[in-house]
Amino acid sequence: MRVPVRLGAAENTLIAQLQGAGAAAEAERLTVTGLPTRRVEAYHYTDLKTLLRTVPPLAVDAGVAGAPALDVTGAFRVMIANGRVQSHGTAPAGVIVGEAKGSALTERDDVLARLNSALASETLTLTLEGSVDPVIHIDRRTDGPAAHAPSSARIYLADGASATLLETYSGSDAAHVSNHASFIQLGKGARLTHITVDLSARKATHFATGEYEIGEGAHLRTITVHAGAGLERTQIFARFGGEGAHADFTGLNLTNDGQHADITAEIRHAKGHCTCKPLYKQIARGRSKAVFQGKIVVERDAQKTDAKLMMQGLMLSDEAEILSKPELEIFADDVVCGHGSTCGKLDEDSMFYLMSRGVPKVEAETMLVRGFIAELFDSIEDEALNEALQGVVDGWLAGR
């Protein structure tokens, strides 16, 4: 007989919310399993049962005003506030904006994805065709008093389309639990740069799940930046569904005292001749925890896969923790796959060298941290966007 799990306040609230939304099966499921603990491999370093103590009421419509957390000049901006798609300006050429009911995510055995699927009431849909010139900015906010806000977006890049998509997450200074979802499909030969930046308040909890379906010959670059909420977790589930595609999955955890940031990525090669180069960096300060889990799965038919997974950590205090778990699961026999993980402090010789030229200590540290991060942003051609991201790093360095 199975011993029922002891449910905490957060779980009880979530179960009630699921029941209220008519998701009885999901409510029942959560009652049986509870939130994942460290014994669940995917949540080994981010034990939700311990970390998520309370869940606020489901979000209601909130009047949202004010500038976006990142204001990128020239971008086309669409806002999702408290899960609801807001009215927007005229879409640029090649961009069709719409709405759909429910969540964009596929069915998946993951608690955050399931909660989003059960609770998200609507999805922003973007169809991108041809070469979309301005940066598309999905500005997701959770505003008003503390709220549990599921939000969802589906982005489809037609064959041959190209675009840069920025998503920012922000909101009022309250103990929100935001649970964002994106489903992104790249048609044949499509090219996408997808940047997600969490700039939520420190009191908040930020969850995001991104599903990527990568078509034949497509080219994807992702940049995940965590620089906001006290508890942050971004999950990436990507699948190469056509041959000859390439993807650079990259990301950055920036943690300050008291924060816990987690990027968990699972990249599945279902078709052959695809290459991917996941590169994740983590910088931890104070008593904080930065987590990266990366798994590359190469299915039996995905011959000639070329995949190299890398994590680099930089610890700026003695109390900081950086946890890294790269994994490879390979079922094909003609592939090149590798993984690596490094972690350390700022290089003392480099510090001495910079300081010996008159650069003060704090500024020398800043230069080295920026240098450590530089390659992540190098390929972003849009100057305003590049500057905005650099600004996020500078804000963090200045002790945001």
Partner: protein, 253 residues
């Protein structure tokens, strides 16, 4: 008597439990170029690092004055601002930090600390261009990350470029000749010689006399077993080249 540019008094330094510098005494007057020669492991490079303020060393006693200012309490950036410059034997490669960004930060940090206005970008570009031309440093090299992918010769020329831009009062050149072919050695030496001035002193550390044919010193000090064993004119370097260091080991003992 005028204040010497650099004065080292009875400097004792250890690393771990081992004493490396065993009572160094050295005076470099304003405008003079002094050479320190000594075999590998005699403590020459340690002296240069200690003067520049590297952390790994324990200073057990002694004093260092730069133009009358006590250095040992200052961190490396404060020493640089006070006018000290160390040209590294092995300049550090720093990926992700653009050379130009670094040069500008270094120049402006020093100006700021001295209460001077920061350089405008055009002024900065002009200064780099004019100093770079003499050292055959082209724009392409400056576009790269700091010292990353530089050849041995390029690294040493980049060190001299920094020296020219920062205009220090006291330059320490640590084995600047190592890893240089004849042409590169000439080029670097010319760069150094162009910076000789009555207001600037230099300490040239080397274990070959060769460099001193190009950068002719006023005084040569022989370093042995962690201290200055003998000092003399530039002919002392030739004597060393002929006889080796063995005689001086006895003098130090």
């Amino acid at each position: 008597m005028t204040t010497p540019m650099l004065e080292v008094r009875d400097l004792h330094v250890r690393i771990a439990e081992r004493e490396i510098l065993k009572g160094v005494n050295l005076i470099v007057p304003k405008g003079e170029v002094h050479a320190i020669m000594g075999r590998n492991g005699s403590g020459k490079s340690t002296l240069s690092y200690v003067l520049a303020g590297k952390e790994d060393y324990e200073i057990t006693s002694g004093e260092v004055l730069l133009d009358g200012v006590s250095l040992l309490e200052l961190d490396p950036s404060e020493r640089a601002t006070a006018g000290l410059f160390l040209a590294f034997q092995y300049p550090i490669e720093i990926p992700g930090v653009a050379t130009m960004t670094f040069l500008k930060a270094a120049m402006n940090s020093q100006r700021k600390a001295r209460g001077e206005a920061e350089l405008t970008t055009p002024d900065f570009m002009r200064a780099v261009k004019s100093a770079g031309t003499a050292l055959h440093i082209d724009a392409d090299m400056l576009k790269r990350a700091l010292n990353v992918g530089f050849s041995g010769g390029e690294k040493k020329r980049a060190e001299i470029l920094q020296m020219a831009l920062l205009k220090p009062k006291m330059c320490i050149l640590d084995e600047t000749d190592s890893g240089l072919d004849i042409d590169a050695l000439k080029l670097v030496s010319e760069g150094v010689n162009a910076l000789r001035s009555p207001e600037r002193s230099m300490l040239v550390i080397t274990h070959y006399q060769r460099l001193l044919n190009h950068i002719v010193p006023d005084v040569v000090h022989v370093f042995s077993d962690g201290r200055v064993a003998e000092s003399g004119g530039k002919e002392l370097a030739l004597e060393l080249e002929a006889k080796g260091y063995a005689d001086f080991d006895e003098a130090a003992a």
